[in-house]
Symmetry: C2
């Protein structure tokens, strides 16, 4: 049976999605601060770079994290000063610089990542496995469709 | 059939949830700014107060929106200066003030709310009705469980 769906239904879903996302994000922000003295945006940048051992352009980082270029630049400046990332010129392009993790950055991120994964599993622990799989599939498709529109 | 589910599966779901939530939020923020010259936090405060005609305590607003008390106070200061909300002392309590929409605030919010609902319906338009209903139910339960733990 196919159900019908009004704009009010979609608005309600959006509010619920936003509330769950904010609640989880706030809790993770607080734990990262308390346990590792690291901000959430900084953790997000380290996590993104960890997935790309060859490094990322600032514009790619900004787009991937969906935050402004200016915000990413400030975070990278601080990570560079702390020796966790390096900037390198891209071959044949004097303007764009590639950012990548240093060994120090990788080691420090990996120490946090395990704890972070445990926290997420705990915070999402009230969802039964079938719902985890269903939501994951639906949101994956949603994000793919989002990327292709506009 | 009940599927199994690892912490990696829950982490993947969290990343997808965060990405979809951020994408929608960024787009709504941009449209609110462009069409109504209003910030998203300000819209969120107006929306919360619109649901509670008798007003809300600052602490209730802060908890409902899941942002810090300091942030809410700054937004309320500006809304009050613009005549969209009023603060009133709660009977028998000199410390806590109740905030509620003025007629002007209500009228101006309602003019934006219709557009906002249309945008949300459009942005979530790639989700089929059955998935809207499923996600909405699962996230509602998740949010309820969140509220009762801790």
């Amino acid at each position: 049976m196919v159900s019908d769906c009004t704009s009010k239904d979609r608005l309600r879903l959006w509010i619920r999605l936003l509330r769950s996302s904010r609640a989880i994000e706030n809790e993770l922000r607080e734990r990262l601060r308390r346990e590792f003295d690291v901000t959430l945006p900084r953790f997000d940048v380290l996590a993104a770079l960890h997935r790309q051992p060859d490094g990322m352009l600032m514009s790619e980082l900004s787009r991937y994290l969906m935050v402004s270029n200016g915000n990413v630049t400030g975070i990278i400046d601080r990570l560079e000063a702390d020796g966790q990332v390096v900037r390198a010129r891209r071959a044949g392009d004097r303007r764009a610089s590639i950012v990548r993790l240093t060994d120090k950055g990788r080691t420090e991120f990996e120490a946090m990542a395990g704890e972070h994964e445990t926290w997420v599993a705990e915070l999402l622990g009230t969802l039964v496995p079938d719902d985890v799989e269903k939501l994951s599939t639906v949101l994956h498709d949603f994000n793919l469709n989002w990327g292709t529109k506009a």
